[in-house]
Structures are given as C-alpha cells and as structure tokens.
C-alpha cells in the first residue's frame, strides 16, 4: 500500500516537472521597455511557479485558512499573542546565530536580552516584557544573512507548501533548520511530536495573523500571484535594508557616553 502511494506521488511529481516545467516567454527584443519589465519581474519559470501557487492556494483554502479561522474564533487575542510570543521565543537561537553572522552586535544583544527577560520574567516567553524594556524584536534569518553578505536573491520561486521564495531564501530556510538546536535534541517520539506540533502551530499562528490581509489581496488583486510575488520581494527587501541600516554603536552603558563622542567624532 505504502509503495503504491509512493509511486503515485513519484508519477505525479514527474508529470508536474516534466510537463509543466515551462518557461516564461520573453517579449521580443524590439520592445525594450517590455524586456526591461520582464527582467525586473525576474520570474523565468513563471508557468511552473503558477502551478505551485494554484496547488498551495488550494491547500490553503481547504486546510490552513479554515484552521486559522477556527483558531481565531476559539482563542481570544491575548492568548493568541501569548502563543505567538512563545513561538517567537523558541526561535531565538536561530535569530541570535544570524544576528552574529550578519555582524550586528547590537541586534545580537537585543536578541540575547529578549531571551533572558522573556524566558524568566516573561514566563517561558508568554509575555513580551523585553519589548517594553527597550529590546524590541527584529527579523533575522539566514536568507537575510546571505543578502547582507552580498548574495543576490536570484529568480522568483513559488515553492510547494513554503510559498513565495527565491534560491537564496530557500537555501537560507534549510540552513535555519540545521541551525535550530531543536532539530538536534532527542530522537524520541515525544520530542518528534512536540517538534511537529510546533511546526503546525507556527503555521496556523502565522496564517491567522494574515487572515484579513490575504483575504483582502485575493479580493482586490487582478492577478493575486503577481501581487504576492511583488509583496514578498518588497517585504524581504525592507527587512534586509532595516538590518543593513541598523548600525547602532555597541558602547557599554557603564562607559562614559560623552567621552565616546570625542573619540569617534570625525570632526575633531
């Protein structure tokens, strides 16, 4: 039975990749503006991407969106915020690793303080006290790290289950999984069950936070696929630029702050 299912899956995948690995047709070279647009869109395997978008969208409509709706209906906002905070706190190791790889010591410090404060005073991460104490959250993942190291994003990809991406971010996602200590602790059934619950709850949490926005986009966009592609790119770019421009100096609080101005001021 198992083998049958697997060979079916293989067949379906082969069909998908074989028949649908179509490439977008570039516009004729006689229309330079259209060519410029085509390059800017940077989506050479658009027909294939659209197939995966359709599949993901179908799965979302029957599984994830209803789950998110139930989640929102059953749990009040403060509880959902608490769940989100716990998940975000569990992501601290990966975040910290990437802060350091990005060469952003202040961000690494923020992440460390957030973990220490929220895990203890914030009761295992339920309450985000660190934010009110001057350590706000920020985004940090290996895709961003690679971007700050100078790697371009590459062509647009719409991945099964994972959604909008590109080679850089897809590879980054894999590295983040490897970087996550929870990938490596224990091999028992209980640990595995917890791991998968975390994946499931994360998905529902993330989806619930974007319920209204995604509904709105699907309602108002003429081409939702193109709109999600544009939004994904812009949002990633904004995250990367925010990290790039975060160059707060790392002066210890006990160091005489006025003296540092004299030392570092280029005008003196």
């Amino acid at each position: 039975m198992h083998v049958v299912i697997r060979s079916h899956l293989l067949l379906v995948t082969a069909l998908l990749l074989g028949n649908l690995a179509g490439c977008a047709t570039p516009p004729p070279a006689s229309d330079p503006e259209a060519v410029a647009d085509f390059k800017e869109t940077n989506d050479p395997i658009e027909p294939t991407n659209r197939v995966f978008y359709a599949i993901d969208d179908g799965l979302d409509t029957v599984i994830l969106r209803p789950a998110a709706k139930v989640y929102r209906f059953v749990l009040p906002q403060p509880v959902r915020t608490g769940v989100h905070n716990v998940l975000s706190n569990l992501g601290t190791p990966v975040q910290l690793g990437n802060d350091m790889l990005e060469g952003k010591p202040q961000r690494a410090g923020d992440t460390t303080m957030r973990f220490l404060i929220n895990t203890t005073a914030g009761v295992l991460g339920v309450f985000d006290l660190a934010k009110d104490w001057g350590y706000p959250d920020h985004d940090s993942d290996f895709g961003m790290t690679l971007a700050l190291w100078g790697l371009p994003e590459g062509p647009f990809l719409f991945l099964p289950v994972l959604g909008p991406s590109n080679p850089r971010d897809a590879f980054g996602f894999g590295v983040d999984q490897v970087m996550d200590p929870f990938t490596w602790v224990g091999k028992g059934v209980a640990v595995r069950a917890l791991d998968w619950s975390r994946v499931g709850i994360s998905a529902v949490d993330e989806r619930e936070r974007h319920l209204d926005d995604i509904d709105n986009i699907k309602k108002t966009a003429l081409d939702p696929y193109a709109t999600f592609r544009s939004l994904y790119r812009q949002h990633r770019q904004a995250q990367i630029e925010e990290a790039r421009n975060d160059n707060r100096a790392t002066i210890p609080v006990w160091f005489p702050q006025s003296a540092t101005e004299v030392v570092y001021s280029p005008s003196r």
Partner: protein, 202 residues
Amino acid sequence: MPNRRNLLILATATLLSGSLRPARAQSVADGARAFVKATGDKLVAVVNGPGTPQQKRGTLTQIIESAVDVDGVARFCLGRFWRTASPEQQKRYTELFHQVLVTNITGKLGEYQGVRFSLGRAQQRDEDTVVSSVVERPNNPPTNVDWIISNPASAPKIIDVVAEGTSLRLTQRQDYASYLTHNNNSIDALISAMHQQVAEAG
C-alpha cells in the same frame, strides 16, 4: 570683477541659507505630519463612527479625493502602458481607478471597529516627506505604515502608502503589469476587469 561688498553679501546670504535650511526642512516635515494626522484622524473617525456602510463609503470618498493625489497614483500604476493608451482610454482608466481605490480602501478599513493609529516621526526624502505611523486593527498585529507626502510645503497630497515595507502603488502597478502581460497588453481588457471589480463590490 566682483567688488568686496557684493562678496560679503553673498557670503552672508550663503551662510544664512545654510543655517536656515535644516530648520525649514523641519517645519515642512512637521507640516506634512500635521496633514497626515488630520487625514488619519478623519479616516479613523469615519471608520469607527456610526452610519451604514454606504454612508461611510460616501464620506471616505470625500476624504480620499481631497487628501490623495489619485490622478497621479493612477498614472503611476499604469506605468509604461500610460503612454501607449489613447486619451479616451486614459480618461476611462483614471475614472475607474478613483472608484477602485475607494472600494479597496473601504474594503480594507470598512469592516473594522476600533482602528487606532499613532504617528511617528516625519523626515524629508528628496522632494517628499515620509511620515511614519503604526496602525492597529482589532484581531491584527500592529502594522508599520509610512505615508509618502508630495509637495509638503505648498499643497500636501498622499502619493503612496508603504505598509511593512511594501508600497501600495508599486504593488498595484506590478499587479496591473502582470494582468496586461497575460492579456496581450490590452488596456481595454484591464479597463473591463476594473469595471467588473467595481461592479462586484457594489
């Protein structure tokens, strides 16, 4: 040969304008900030206030038409296709764009009760002013929203809204561009699709 007095006047003027410029830029930014605050307060008051959806739509339309450079945004969103469109197509497209914009904004805000928004700082970026804010809607995480204001000194108008780093008008332009690419670059096809959108929204 320039005489010494003229040089002195020139130098003083240069110094003065140099020292005055930051102050002027700041007052311009503050003006834009006040403009966004006034517009935002009006929008929030209507959204949270009483009235049927139809009444709200009417009031929101007035606010949007007076605060947003809708014609400019419309032209931006059509991108390179604006120049290939006939004057008649441009006119019909722009008219429809006004309605689509109002429909979309009403759709985004209309269903909420208890929208709050708090203003952050305002800064000059080239000719425009960027005013930061945080918008809170019930059931949704707080969203960072930047308002891009053109002509902040003379006739302030909103030309773009950037939510979590995503520009509304750029996203709209790429949506239209993709639609046009997949419909033989036919502006009439776009116009009829927009027409249908407005009709469906009622």
